[in-house]
C-alpha cells in the first residue's frame, strides 16, 4: 500500500493547473481584466459573438448534445449489430471506428493487413461493405461520424454510394468526416501520402461537400490526438487553431469563400480531469476561433465564426490498474465537456487500457452521458460556470497562452512548415516524457498507480471479449468474391479515370464516387493515389 504523494496547499512551491497556469487560493472580481464591462464584452450572450458562452442561445434546453459512442470491430455485420444495440440503448447518433488496413488504404487481403483486419475497428473494403454496415439504419435520419483521415475521401465515396442505394440523397446526410490529415502527421500517425497531396485531398473533400453536402461536416479539426500523445491543454488549443488556419488558407487559395465553407467546419478536443481548466479551454476555444475568423478571414457570416465541437474525453487519463476507477474519471470528463458546451460527446470505456471496449463498458459509457443529461440538472441553463471569477480568469489566461503558441507556430512558418520541421512533435514527446517522470516520482498523483495502489493484478475480474479469430478469413473471402463478380472493365475504367484526375489536379471526389459505385476497392483507390502521390515516411526522431 502506498501513501498519497502530493497535496495542494501550504508548503508546496507552486500550485498550477495541468498546463502550468498558476492558481491562487481564491479568485475575486479583481482578477477579471477590464472589470465587469470588459468581461461582458468578452463573453457576449450564448449564441452571440464571440460565442464564449456557447454556440447556441438555448444550448441544452433546446437540444441535448449528441451521444456518439465510437464503435466498430470485426466485419460490417458485427459492427452493424453493435450500432443497433447502441441505438436501442438510447444512443442518438453513430460513430464508426475503422480497422487499420481501412485507415491506411489496404484491402483485407494485403499482406500488411492480415494481422490487423477487424481489430481496432470495422474492415471496409468496398461500397458493398459500407452498405452492409448500415443495413436497416436509415442514413437520411441517423447522423454518422467517421474517424478516417488519410483515406477519408475514399470512405466518403463509399458512404455516398451506400446512401444512394438506400435512396438517400447527399443533401439529406448529416454527420462528420474527421478528415484532419495534419494531426495524423502531428500525433496520430495514420498518414499515407506526403503532406502536400494529403492537404489537397482533405480540401478536395471540403470543396466537394460545400456544394453537395450542406448538412454534413466535411472535417473535424482536432487537437485531441496531440493531447493524447502528450501535450497540454494550452498547446492542444494552439495546435488546433494552427491547423484550422492552414485548412482555411488552403481553401481560400483554391478560391472558396470563407463565409460559405467555414460554417461546416467542426472541431474536436479532449476533455481531461483538470475540470476547470478543461471547461475554460473549451470556452476559450470558441472565443479564439471567433477572433481568428473575424480578424484573419474577415468573416461576415456569424455562423462561420461559431465553433462547434465534439469531445472524446481522454483515454490516457485512464489506468489499467483498478479499472473501475475509470468510470469515475470518465464521468468527470463527460461533465467537463458538458459544462464546456460540447455538441457531441464520446465517453471512454473503463476497460480501454486492456482491450477494445466490451459491450458492458460501452453501455456504461452511454449511461454516464444519460445520467448527466437527465439526472443532474446541469443542462438547465447555458454556460452555468460563466461569470465565476476563477473560470473567467482561466479562460482569459488560456486564450492568451494559446495565442502565444499559435504565434510561435506562425513564426516557424505555419502549421505545415512547423510539422515538417518537427517542432510541435518535439513539444509533444518532451511533454509525454515529463508526465511519465512526474508519475514515477509521485509528483502527479494517480489513484491506483502511485497512490493507494494495491497488489491486485491489473485487469483482474475484467470481462474480456474474445476476438473473433476467423474475421480476417471471412472478410478476405468476401472481398475476393466481390472482386470476381463485379464488371471488371467498368471498375478498371473508373480507376483509370481516378488516377488521371488525381494527376491532373481535378477534384478527386466525383471520380471516387464513380469508382466506388463500380466496385473498386479501398485498396485499389488508395493505390491509384499512391502511384500519383507516393507515400510518406516519417523521418527518424533520433
Amino acid at each position: 500500500m502506498t501513501e498519497p504523494v502530493a497535496t495542494c496547499g501550504d508548503g508546496q512551491p507552486a500550485v498550477t493547473t495541468d498546463s502550468g497556469i498558476p492558481v491562487v487560493a481564491v479568485y475575486t472580481a479583481a482578477d477579471i481584466a477590464g472589470g465587469p464591462d470588459g468581461l461582458a464584452a468578452r463573453l457576449g450572450a450564448p449564441g452571440e459573438p464571440p460565442f464564449t458562452r456557447g454556440p447556441y442561445a438555448s444550448m441544452y434546453r433546446g437540444q441535448l448534445w449528441t451521444m456518439r459512442q465510437f464503435a466498430g470491430y470485426g466485419s460490417p455485420e458485427q459492427t452493424n449489430a453493435r450500432f443497433r444495440f447502441l441505438l436501442g440503448q438510447g444512443q442518438t447518433a453513430l460513430s464508426v471506428a475503422f480497422d487499420l488496413p481501412t485507415q491506411l488504404g489496404y484491402d483485407s487481403d494485403h499482406e500488411l493487413a492480415r494481422t490487423e483486419v477487424g481489430r481496432v475497428g470495422v474492415a471496409i473494403d468496398t461500397a458493398d461493405d459500407m452498405t452492409d454496415l448500415f443495413a436497416g439504419l436509415p442514413l437520411g435520419k441517423v447522423s454518422v461520424n467517421f474517424t478516417i483521415n488519410a483515406t477519408a475521401p475514399i470512405i466518403l465515396a463509399t458512404y455516398l454510394v451506400a446512401a444512394e442505394r438506400q435512396g438517400v440523397s447527399p443533401g439529406q446526410l448529416t454527420g462528420t468526416l474527421q478528415n484532419d490529415i495534419l494531426k495524423e502527421f502531428l500525433a496520430r500517425k495514420a498518414y499515407v501520402f506526403p503532406p502536400e497531396p494529403s492537404m489537397r485531398l482533405a480540401t478536395d473533400v471540403i470543396e466537394y461537400a460545400s456544394d453537395i453536402l450542406p448538412r454534413f461536416n466535411p472535417i473535424s479539426i482536432t487537437g485531441y490526438h496531440a493531447r493524447e500523445a502528450g501535450c497540454d491543454a494550452v498547446q492542444e488549443l494552439g495546435l488546433t487553431m494552427a491547423s484550422a488556419i492552414a485548412y482555411c488558407e488552403a481553401l481560400t487559395r483554391r478560391g472558396l469563400v470563407f463565409d460559405h465553407f467555414a460554417p461546416r467546419l467542426s472541431f474536436h478536443f479532449a476533455t481531461t480531469l483538470d475540470l476547470f481548466e478543461e471547461v475554460a479551454k473549451l470556452r476559450a476555444a470558441r472565443r479564439l476561433w471567433y477572433r481568428i475568423a473575424i480578424e484573419r478571414f474577415g468573416a461576415a457570416n456569424p455562423a462561420a465564426a461559431r465553433l462547434r465541437f465534439f469531445s472524446g474525453n481522454s483515454g490516457t487519463t485512464l489506468t489499467s490498474q483498478q479499472p473501475l476507477n475509470n468510470v469515475i474519471r470518465s464521468t468527470i470528463q463527460c461533465l467537463g465537456a458538458v459544462l464546456g458546451g460540447a455538441q457531441s460527446i464520446h465517453v471512454m470505456g473503463y476497460d480501454e487500457a486492456h482491450q477494445i471496449p466490451s459491450a458492458e463498458a460501452v453501455t456504461l459509457s452511454l449511461r454516464t452521458q444519460q445520467i448527466i443529461a437527465l439526472e443532474t440538472g446541469v443542462t438547465r441553463t447555458a454556460d452555468p460556470l460563466g461569470g465565476s471569477f476563477f473560470i473567467e480568469h482561466l479562460t482569459d489566461e488560456i486564450e492568451s497562452r494559446a495565442s502565444d503558441i499559435l504565434q510561435e507556430i506562425e513564426d516557424s512558418g505555419g502549421a505545415i512548415r512547423a510539422l515538417e520541421r518537427g517542432v510541435p512533435q518535439r513539444w509533444i514527446t518532451e511533454a509525454a516524457y515529463r508526465t511519465e517522470q512526474e508519475l514515477a516520482a509521485g509528483l502527479r498523483p494517480k489513484v491506483g498507480v502511485n497512490a493507494y495502489a494495491t497488489d491486485e493484478e491489473p485487469g483482474q475480474g475484467l470481462a474480456l471479449d474474445q476476438p473473433d479469430p476467423l474475421v480476417a478469413e471471412r472478410q478476405i473471402a468476401r472481398t475476393r468474391e466481390r472482386k470476381s463478380s463485379r464488371d471488371s472493365q467498368a471498375s478498371a475504367d473508373a480507376l483509370r479515370d481516378l488516377e488521371r484526375d488525381a494527376a491532373e489536379e481535378r477534384n478527386v471526389m466525383p471520380a471516387l464516387v464513380r469508382a466506388a459505385r463500380a466496385g473498386a476497392t479501398v485498396g485499389e483507390m488508395s493505390d491509384a493515389f499512391r502511384r500519383v502521390f507516393g507515400e510518406f515516411r516519417e523521418p527518424s526522431p533520433w
Partner: protein, 134 residues
Amino acid sequence: MKRPRVVLAKPGLDGHDRGVKVVAMGLRDAGAEVIYLGLRMTPRQIAAAAAAEDADVVGISVLSGAHLAIAENLLAEMRAVRIDVPLVVGGTIPARDADLLCHLGVSAVFPAGTPLPAVVAGVLEVADSRAAVT
C-alpha cells in the same frame, strides 16, 4: 562496461507511438544505446535491423491487439536469420495474452500501465542476461 544496445520498433500498422518514444527516452537516460526504427516496421525489417545493429534486446510496442501474431512472426524471422536476441513486448496486452507471449518465447511483457522505471529496468535486465551468455 559495454552500453546495452536496444532496438525498438512499432510493427504492424498501429501508429500509437507515445509509449515507445517515452520508453526510448527512459532507456537512453539510463545509459542504453537506443535504436528506434519507427513506425510500420515488418517483422523481417526488425529482424534484419536487430542483426545489423548487434542488438542485446529487441522491443516492440503494439496497441492494436495484433501482438500475438506479430510476435510470432518476428520470432520466426529472427530464427530464420539465425539471431538469438531476446524480444520484449509492450502495449495494450490483456493479462491472458501476456502468458501466451511468454510461451511463444517473448522474454518480458510490459502491458499498458507498467510504470516507466519498471519498463526501463525490465528491458535492461533482459539485455544484461543476453550480454552475460554471449
